[in-house]
Symmetry: C2
Subunit: 207 residues, 2 copies
């Protein structure tokens, strides 16, 4: 049985090389387990997601879950992996304005808004996954690089001046800061306000 | 004997209310210990700074150091505290362009450059101090708030449009991202390049 290698990336976000093709029943089982895990998180948050609870929810033995994900950290990583891959597919080849077809700075605005939206639902998961001290690794991992390359490419297409590599790094840092916002700060810095702030930042690049 | 309360702030950066006035001999002893600690860090990095080593270097008993700082974490916190207070004094009331007297966006450019410079020397200390998971608390602590209020005030003076509170948050996030750069990333993202990138960002606010 082919176990996917747990890849880790931005805050436990994974990625880079495609995972090995799984046998279709193994892939189905994996998807079903991840769906069950998401259901538990929707109800009780990340803290409520234990291996025991997942086994009960999915109606499988705990051994199956450990064989599949290795550990709770591996499970969190797999959840983030799935979400990040889906997001990457959307900004690389999905519909405009996030995907190709819209003007580059409209795509950049859409990227930021989508990323903020993603963080709003995935924030706790990312924080749980970073609790082991992964925050420091955030800047060297494949998922961050993919987003940085994407942003830099849009900036170049828009013929924005200056040091594009640094500007892409800085813009991504703005989005990632939101990731670290503790729930308390969100009373003032609401996600819709942060999204408008992102639009304003992108608008400054148009001048 | 009055022990200063260990305050913690941005990445273990402290601050907010002034510390109680210490007896002058106690203050001198504290300053001497912090100087010795900085000397050790200059030579062997933060990892080289142990309580034993500091006792030897400063020629005092280990008990004195524990009474003064409580723990190694307390010592790191005190080092950051001192540096952050000095930096705050510089941007609040020091000479222009960092302090008052220069045009507000020149002060903002100077603030970022000084902060980047500060991170370049204090990065390891900050990382060591955040290793216990303090990164998440970064956005609710007094030292960050002081810098955010300062940046927002400069933006208002410069009559920059848009949501100033969010823009100040975003600009500070850019600077803090540098703090998390692992030593490896600095080969490409040099501090002088990041400083120029900051200037470019501030220039976009002038338009």
């Amino acid at each position: 049985m082919t176990e996917p290698i747990p890849l880790t990336g931005v805050g436990g976000l994974p990625l880079g090389p495609p995972q090995p093709v799984e046998r279709s029943d193994a892939a189905r089982n994996r998807a079903r387990l991840l769906d069950s895990a998401r259901r538990i998180i929707d109800i009780d948050g990340v803290a409520g997601l234990t291996m025991d609870r997942l086994a009960t929810e999915a109606g499988v033995g705990k051994g199956t879950i450990f064989r599949r994900f290795g550990s709770r950290a591996g499970l969190l990583s797999a959840l983030l992996d799935d979400t990040e891959r889906e997001f990457q597919a959307a900004f690389i080849s999905g519909p405009a304005p996030l995907g190709p077809g819209a003007p580059p700075l409209d795509r950049l605005a859409a990227y930021g808004r989508a990323r903020i939206e993603l963080f709003s639902t995935q924030g706790d998961l990312l924080r749980a996954s970073e609790a082991g001290g992964m925050a420091e690794e955030r800047y060297t991992v494949p998922a961050r690089r993919i987003s940085e390359v994407h942003i830099a490419s849009l900036l170049r297409q828009a013929e924005v001046g200056g040091d594009i590599r640094i500007l892409a790094f800085n813009l991504l840092s703005v989005l990632e800061a939101i990731l670290l916002l503790p729930p308390g700060a969100k009373a003032e810095l609401t996600l819709s306000r942060l999204a408008r702030g992102w639009d304003e930042l992108v608008d400054r690049l148009r001048l």
